[in-house]
């Protein structure tokens, strides 16, 4: 877990055919002073187990959001909810492909979509099979309400996953993964707020949610 990340030379900078040595911020602190090969080397291993768990887990997590979004057109959702569902569907399908590439680029196992029933229970914010069934049975305004409440719960789980990633030693430091995880946090935080507003604006349900 405490492996060095990229074996990149710190002290040798090459430009346009000339070799110039520049001391970076604290080359001495970095303990790197010997000349090294003049090209950058690709990361041999640039992740920790928490990174892999995050990416694999988030693929499953996103999958549930896509399944929920797919219900909107056939469950009498209002126009506003259908648009929200469409945006979530587009967004999260892209991100699943993105996470898949990140794992593939590192030769790591990519979760199969569909083979997730035993995994999804362990992910924060995932709707239970009972909740999913309830959502699938709902129509119209009731669907809207359950969809919003469910997706807020689901997104809040994603925020928890990001928080856990960054709390893990060395977690979330590979730049692409950091950018992605920080983006998930920022985007879903904003979307939770929009959904909370939409939920507040809905008419009060006839009976309280079970």
């Amino acid at each position: 877990m405490m492996r060095p990340r990229f074996p990149t030379p710190l002290s040798v900078l090459v430009m346009a055919g000339t070799l110039t040595t520049v001391a970076p911020a604290c080359a001495q602190t970095a303990g790197s002073s010997a000349a090294r090969p003049a090209t950058a080397s690709a990361p041999a291993k640039d992740y920790v187990p928490a990174d892999v768990q995050f990416m694999q887990g988030m693929i499953h997590h996103h999958q549930q959001a896509v399944v929920m979004a797919a219900m909107a057109p056939t469950h009498g959702a209002s126009e506003r909810i259908q648009l929200l569902a469409k945006k979530i569907d587009l967004s999260q399908r892209d991100e699943m492909a993105f996470m898949q590439r990140w794992l593939e680029d590192r030769g790591l196992p990519v979760p199969e979509v569909g083979a997730h029933d035993h995994v999804m229970m362990h992910m924060p914010g995932m709707l239970t099979p009972e909740q999913m069934q309830q959502l699938d049975q709902a129509r119209g305004a009731e669907f809207d309400r359950l969809f919003l409440a469910g997706m807020i719960q689901h997104h809040q789980g994603a925020l928890t996953m990001v928080k856990e990633l960054f709390a893990a030693p060395g977690g979330g430091q590979e730049p692409t993964l950091f950018d992605f995880a920080a983006g998930v946090d920022a985007d879903q935080r904003a979307e939770i707020e929009r959904m909370q507003q939409m939920l507040n604006a809905l008419p009060t349900p006839r009976s309280p949610a079970p």
Binding site: M15, V22, A38, A85, K87, V162, T176, A190
Partner: protein
């Protein structure tokens, strides 16, 4: 030079079968989509040899990344899979362009834009490396938890560590070939971006607004950091970190205020369904009014416009208008929300400050969001007018041409082009390329030029494309994430005449940071007056024979010199002045008259 490729599409296919067939057709039909009838559609792929489509923009030069930013795997193949060596933002000073990179920065001498000369490629792991320049001080953003004080690439394993650096690095670049680290501003959330803000009363300091959206670091690592809800006392959320930098001693730079522009923000009413979604807006809550749940708890980016004491904050689910007359204590004066906007990303003001363009970075820039299936109001620009300190939303603008799933694409960074009498900006759309957009009419933005390459690879998406496209002293500089530095120039067209381009080129800045917007002032030139005449002709703002006569008079005056020229110009101004009253575009005729008077007064 083959790219590492992997082509599994199993996941995509599986997901498509889950949902694609069940899109609500009635609603989708209402959402405008990108066009496939455009020369930018179907361009061949390649890192260095992609097909190009360009309109009214010419590539002057492309300077690839140096080898130190081009990692190779053990087989010697280029690895373009991630952001580790991605080029990021740009800053400008004199003949130098400062180009950020997630692993450092480069300094280019662009005295000859056809042949930029790399003065240094500095290696320092610093995501995302957004640069700003002020005098000889270069500021570089460092956001994530893997950034180290010593620039090393090994990351920081301990959750509390003295080695970690999150904030803004400061380098002395008085010798551009030998940058020297001279200061570090540590901040609680790190710096995704930052903005330099001058002190109107004290030129010996500069302020830095630090925007960071990542997690809060431990108070044990940096004193005062506290990860609690934004409306709780001492929270590191819900504020802009304002750092003060003494220019003669940047080592003393530190955060002096956490400006709390968010708490007590009333939430906007819920919105109608898109399209045609309009912004709902309310005034800030009066003192003592019941507090609603705070909205965003950070800004992604803040563009300041010191000449008018205003800033535009792009902050999570909101666009925020700030008063920065006291730069240490920015004050919110209005905000906007929009259900089409996923993530408010950045702001660009019109030169007169009456408009602001906010961008929506839907998907964060690493996703393909300009496909033929991605609606035009999503991941777009939204144009606002500002009157009486209130934001009013007008049209959206999105790159009109559909891009492939192999191209990350969404609205990203840009800057104004100083075309007099018009509001025009250049903008980078990642692999969507560079687009130049006229938003003079905020309800009908028009694309007037573009430059686009095909994807880096035809089989998969690599993160690439234009991080930002900025006008600086006559050229458009585009920081290409994977392909280096592009320098472009505008060419005349039905949308833009050579006189307008020449007038734009007459505005020369000594220094330019896109997030610290300067006010353009046009020197008196014949091009400026002719540019206004061209615009009056294009917009039929003045009778054609009057325009033709004024052009002849200007030509004649230009052939004269000294007092004779002055008299000719003064005569012309006097002839034109009464025409304004009956002209279709009176305001532009007055601009023309003033430009001729200024020309007469010029020595």
């Amino acid at each position: 030079m083959s790219l590492r490729s992997s082509g599994r599409v199993r996941m995509l296919a599986a997901i498509a079968s889950l949902a694609l067939g069940s899109v609500p057709t009635a609603l989708v039909a209402q959402l405008p989509l990108p066009t496939t009838n455009d020369p930018r559609v179907g361009l061949g792929a390649g890192l260095t040899d992609a097909e190009v489509a360009a309109k009214n923009l010419r590539l002057v030069s492309n300077s690839p990344k140096p080898d130190i930013y081009m990692p190779r795997d053990s087989a010697g193949n280029l690895d373009l899979g991630g952001l580790t060596y991605a080029n990021s933002d740009l800053a400008f000073r004199g003949n130098y362009v400062f180009q950020g990179n997630f692993s450092g920065f480069q300094i280019w001498d662009v005295s000859d834009p056809r042949k930029p000369v790399r003065k240094v490629a500095y290696l320092c792991a610093t995501g995302q490396g957004d640069p700003s320049i002020h005098g000889n001080l270069l500021f570089i953003s460092a956001e994530g938890p893997g950034n180290r004080i010593d620039c090393g690439t090994q990351g920081v394993q301990d959750t509390v560590s003295e080695e970690r650096f999150r904030g803004v690095r400061i380098f002395d670049v008085s010798d551009v070939a030998n940058p020297k680290p001279v200061g570090w501003i540590q901040s609680c959330r790190g710096s995704h971006t930052h903005t330099l803000v001058p002190d109107p009363r004290d030129s010996s300091v500069i302020y830095v607004y630090i925007s960071g959206s990542a997690g809060i670091r431990s108070g044990q690592e940096l004193e005062g950091c506290l990860d609690v809800p934004p409306d709780s006392a001492g929270s590191s959320r819900g504020r802009i970190d304002v750092a003060r930098v003494p220019l003669d001693n940047p080592a003393e730079a530190r955060v002096v205020n956490g400006a709390r522009i968010f708490p007590a923000q009333p939430r906007p009413a819920s919105h109608g369904a898109a399209p045609g979604d309009t912004t709902q807006r309310r005034r800030p809550a009066a003192a003592g009014a019941p507090r609603e749940r705070p909205g965003p708890d950070q800004c992604h980016d803040i563009t300041v416009y010191p000449a008018i004491d205003r800033a535009g904050g792009a902050c999570g689910g909101y666009g925020i208008l700030l008063d920065i007359s006291d730069p240490v204590n920015p004050r919110r004066i209005d905000f906007a929300a929009d259900t089409n906007f996923a993530f408010w990303h950045s702001a660009t003001f019109s030169n007169d400050g009456s408009k602001v363009v906010f961008t929506d970075e839907w998907g964060g820039g690493t996703q393909p969001r300009c496909r033929v299936t991605d609606p035009l109001p999503w991941g777009a620009d939204a144009i606002f007018t500002i009157a009486d300190n209130q934001l009013t939303q007008h049209a959206y603008y999105k790159l009109p041409a559909a891009q492939t799933p192999q191209e990350n694409c969404v609205a990203h960074n840009g800057s104004l082009i100083p075309i007099p009498g018009r509001d025009v900006m250049a903008q980078g759309w990642y692999q969507g390329g560079v687009s130049v957009m006229d938003f003079t009419d905020p309800n009908h933005p028009v694309e007037i030029a573009y430059f686009d390459r095909g994807p880096v690879d035809s089989t998969r998406m690599y993160i690439a494309g234009s991080w930002g496209a900025y006008w600086y002293n006559g050229y458009i500089y585009s920081s290409a994430i994977a392909r280096g530095l592009d320098i472009l120039e505008l060419t005349p067209s039905e949308f833009l005449t050579q006189n307008e381009i020449d007038a734009a080129r007459s505005v020369v800045l000594a220094e330019f940071n896109p997030q610290s917007q300067p006010r353009f002032v046009w020197p008196a030139t014949f091009s400026l007056s002719r540019a206004y005449l061209d615009q009056l002709e294009r917009g039929q703002g003045l009778a054609a024979d009057r325009i033709a006569q004024a052009r002849r008079d200007l030509d004649a005056a230009e052939r004269l010199s000294g007092a004779q020229r002055q008299q000719a110009l003064t005569r012309l101004a006097s002839t034109l002045e009464p025409l304004a009253a009956n002209a279709a575009d009176a305001a532009r005729v007055r601009l023309l008259v003033q430009s001729v008077r200024d020309l007469a007064a010029a020595r």
